[in-house]
Symmetry: C2
Subunit: 218 residues, 2 copies
Amino acid sequence: MSEAFTLYSYFRSSAAYRVRIALNLKGIKADYRAVHLLKDGGQQHAPSYAQLNPQEIVPTVVHDGYAIGQSLAIMEYLDEVKPEPPLLPKDPAGRARARQLAYAVACDIHPINNLRVLNYLRKPLGHDDDEVIAWMTHWIDLGLGAIETMLTSSAATGRFCHGDTPTLADICLIPQMANARRGRTNLDLFPTLKRIEAACFELPAFADAAPGKQPDAE
Amino acid sequence: MSEAFTLYSYFRSSAAYRVRIALNLKGIKADYRAVHLLKDGGQQHAPSYAQLNPQEIVPTVVHDGYAIGQSLAIMEYLDEVKPEPPLLPKDPAGRARARQLAYAVACDIHPINNLRVLNYLRKPLGHDDDEVIAWMTHWIDLGLGAIETMLTSSAATGRFCHGDTPTLADICLIPQMANARRGRTNLDLFPTLKRIEAACFELPAFADAAPGKQPDAE
């Protein structure tokens, strides 16, 4: 396996944040290329980037000549080409649980609240900041509430979402909690999530992946 | 492995449709339990179902005493406990590509257009049918357009999205195309998707999973 990985990222993107955590956990030092989602009409729409990622979204990882988009596809790939430390448990039921928690964020919270969706609510739909934040908070509260229940109702929950090592579930959860703080979500309602977040931030892999620590942070 | 699988499904849910296709491809006859998303204030909110799936959404698969939610977590699980026929290619780059295509639907099209999101646009946001359909069509056109480009720009595309056997990519695509027909999307703009859809429907696994063929179809 080639050790050369390139990461196309935007510091504030929570999908890119996930991949930054995963790369750090794997001990992979990727070449960081900033794609500014707001400058130049959105650098993700530049033809050179669109060729790498026809969805024109971040992140993209380039490795061994392949450009891979979609944070979860990238993380599953990393887990296959560099299995240690694993990002998923070994047993199929445990893997399903970690993935279910990850998708509960990645499919059912984040896509409804990302920049392009919020922009559409503003224009053409004409909603003001208050309504946009109410929208965001509604979906985040609903989603994090379900995840809190999934975590408190299972003996498989440990120091992290699944057992005592971080998995895809934690990697998706942490950036989503950062997003939650931009709305009106009361995170005190989710004590298990807060406990797990604190455990994650004791690990440099999570702390170093935070938006404020990226080369393109503003 | 126990051969007893139970599927909680709603005939019109495209996430449930994916899992029905995957079960059929694997040759698994699951016990079908209908969860009507509109009757009784939404049967997915009944306490007995919420205990199986705290997100209160379909589908859920119960197997070997575990209740698994999230269609993609279920399908990865099926591929692990019953590997033949595989739902993903063998090579990591191919697996990443099939997953990327699957997530392009499952993360970036479907969640923005599912029933609960469209309901929120209607109430409290007050949009009429025309605006709701414009919303739906916007995200579907954008998403399917990117997927068409991903497919036409890669030599890995075959009879199906990746090579000549169906993968998670096709399984996610086909229900999304059915949804597209409920809006104003012009599918003629996506000839590769239409060709692949036709190839899929030659397989009973896809045809038999269609909403109209389910026990709870209306």
